[in-house]
């Protein structure tokens, strides 16, 4: 019982990172049907930004995270503007390859500029472990969970309550119709990238704090896992992405806990395939049938 509780705490912390990343995938996919392969690398940029502003400019944790979100939002918008916008009317597979190209560019560009070495993330917050009965939870874990949940709520509010959020939902349903009622497609898409990338930036700083090590290729695997999380939750659905993130996080820690860590990724993919077979559009996704 005690280990289950402990694994749940660990799983939720890891899951909230995946959830934050999955949100970016799901929003971008929902709006332009693109698997933004470079999203994991934006998370890496967020972590590096945090590393530098804390080390060099001696930012506090909050300032580092907020500035990382801002920085990543900017990068996301620039990437969309330069690489994806010219391809908006091209076959989707072309845009996907471009996204892969951007991902390669960010990974290798960072390796070139700052070397491929792994470096340790400055611990701006001293880790304190609390004991709740037999369970252990650190302040970093609490911070990750709290920040992630707070950001997800904020995002849900933006999408549900603001004009821009309404525009995003409209474009996701039907871009042409959205334009006809006066929605600026380019602004809406840029805004979506900004939001998603900001979430990734926050996740980058949080993971740096949690795992204490960052490198230019750190975005690859979590990126793919987060995309899997978005698909499991139902791509295009914000609550789905959060749920998917937590599912993957808990699943991974659970498989590790029973001593099958070598197969932890395999189990994740197996669950993905099974969920897709039972629910072809993910848990919260709508299965749209083609009209005959």
């Amino acid at each position: 019982m005690q280990t289950i509780g402990q694994q749940l705490i660990n799983g939720l912390s890891l899951g909230s990172i995946y959830a934050l990343l999955a949100l970016g995938y799901t929003m971008v996919y929902g709006i332009i049907k693109l698997i933004n392969f470079a999203h994991g690398d934006i998370y890496m940029l967020g972590a590096f930004w945090g590393y530098y502003v804390i080390n060099v400019l001696h930012f506090s944790f909050i300032a580092a995270m907020l500035s990382a979100m801002l920085f990543c939002a900017l990068v996301g918008v620039i990437i969309e503007y330069c690489a994806y916008r010219p391809l908006r009317h091209s076959p989707r597979i072309t845009a996907l390859i471009t996204a892969i190209g951007v991902s390669f560019l960010l990974e290798n560009g960072m390796s070139y500029l700052f070397t491929a070495n792994t470096r340790s993330f400055p611990q701006v917050i001293k880790t304190v472990t609390y004991h709740l009965g037999s369970l252990q939870i650190s302040n970093v874990q609490l911070l990750i969970l709290g920040t992630a949940c707070g950001l997800m709520l904020l995002l849900e509010l933006i999408i549900k309550k603001t004009t821009m959020g309404k525009a995003m939902r409209a474009v996701a349903v039907d871009p042409t119709a959205a334009q006809l009622v006066g929605i600026n497609l380019n602004h809406t898409i840029s805004f979506t990238f900004a939001l998603g990338s900001a979430m990734a930036g926050a996740a980058g700083v949080l993971i740096g704090l949690y795992y204490n090590s960052i490198d230019p290729l750190m975005g690859m695997t979590p990126g793919i896992k987060a995309f899997v999380a978005a698909v499991i939750g139902g791509i295009g659905s914000v609550p789905g992405a959060s749920l998917g993130g937590f599912i993957i996080g808990i699943l991974e820690t659970a498989v590790q806990a029973i001593g099958l860590s070598a197969y932890k990724d395999a189990v994740v993919y197996l669950v993905l395939i099974v969920i897709l077979l039972v629910m072809p559009a993910g848990i919260f996704g709508k299965n749209v049938k083609e009209k005959v």
């Binding site: 391809l87 091209s90 076959p91 390859i97 190209g101 395999a266 993919y269 072809p280």
Partner: protein
């Protein structure tokens, strides 16, 4: 009838010419080990990418798990040939690899080919990762370390001939009742079903055929490179094959050849650039996609029948 014979003769001539050319250059010393390596890589990439192009371009199913099937072929050769170190052993291992890949493709394809578009892509990617992780953890495959000192049973000539055979088979597939059926499903699945096509069966045919060619490519890779490890067959490897397909033009076999050659040459040239290499490569990829969204050749195919028909028309 006459045009068909003529076209086939032209193709055969072209293939023989290519062989003699490479052989001659090798003999003259113009092709060194370095260039031979590049040519073999291109040949293996052609085999892999043609199979993937059949799945993606012609049957319209987005698979992202090609490296998984390649791994099966590679490991079949890597495990069998150290014990049976003959050419026969190599072909036996290739055959076994193909059979296992076909079985794996059936297991993966039967449930997942119901999925559409990106969902299928992500499911096949997951399946390929499962294959890789199994290989990574099994004893017979020597785990994450991989297999070394695989007997060198494939020369450039082997790769060349098998590349030609794979291409002919794939093109034959496309220009037959099966090829038309899978293209119909790509164009409009509902209409294809209404015309009595068992869509799952035809999609599966293309998927399994593609997987079999991937296993052939993997087997050649193992026998030529002589070293394999699970990390050679990760998601990035599947993506590398996908890039060849999309860069050449989804639905163009000629394009696949061109892209494999262009990327192979680019890779060789960029060897001298050190760390800048991947940066230039990724920039080139982005720029080609932005300026040539349909790939280098679109859906254009080199055809000698078409030229002949044109000639006939000109004479009339």
């Amino acid at each position: 009838m006459r045009t068909r014979l003529k076209a086939n003769l032209v193709w055969a001539g072209l293939m023989i010419f290519g062989f003699i050319l490479i052989d001659g250059l090798e003999f003259a010393g113009i092709i060194n080990t370095f260039i031979e390596n590049m040519l073999v890589t291109i040949g293996i990439n052609v085999i892999l990418a043609i199979g993937l192009n059949l799945i993606i371009g012609f049957s319209g199913q987005f698979s992202l798990g090609h490296a998984g099937f390649m791994a099966i072929g590679a490991y079949a050769t890597g495990i069998i040939t150290p014990t049976i170190t003959t050419i026969g052993g190599f072909y036996l291992s290739m055959f076994i690899g193909v059979i296992i890949a076909i079985i794996a493709a059936l297991i993966v394809g039967i449930p997942t080919l119901r999925l559409r578009g990106d969902y299928l892509a992500i499911a096949t990617m997951g399946a390929a990762e499962i294959i890789r992780l199994l290989i990574n953890n099994l004893k017979i495959t020597n785990g994450a370390a991989g297999i070394f000192n695989i007997p060198a049973l494939a020369s450039w000539a082997t790769v060349y001939v098998i590349m030609c055979i794979t291409t002919i088979m794939t093109v034959n597939f496309i220009h037959s009742r099966s090829g038309r059926a899978i293209m119909a499903i790509r164009e409009d699945e509902i209409a294809a079903e209404a015309m009595g096509l068992n869509t799952t069966r035809w999609k599966l045919a293309a998927f399994v055929f593609g997987a079999a060619t991937a296993a052939v490519g993997g087997s050649l890779h193992a026998a030529y490179i002589q070293t394999i490890a699970p990390s050679d067959f990760n998601i990035m490897a599947s993506i590398a094959i996908l890039i060849i397909v999309v860069l050449g033009g989804v639905g163009s076999i000629t394009g696949t050849f061109v892209a494999a050659i262009v990327l192979g040459a680019l890779d060789t040239i960029l060897q001298n650039f050190g760390t800048l290499r991947m940066i230039i490569y990724s920039l080139a990829l982005i720029l080609i996609m932005i300026f040539k969204p349909a790939g280098l050749l679109g859906t254009w195919e080199l055809s000698f029948k078409r030229f002949n028909r044109q000639e006939v028309a000109d004479h009339e």
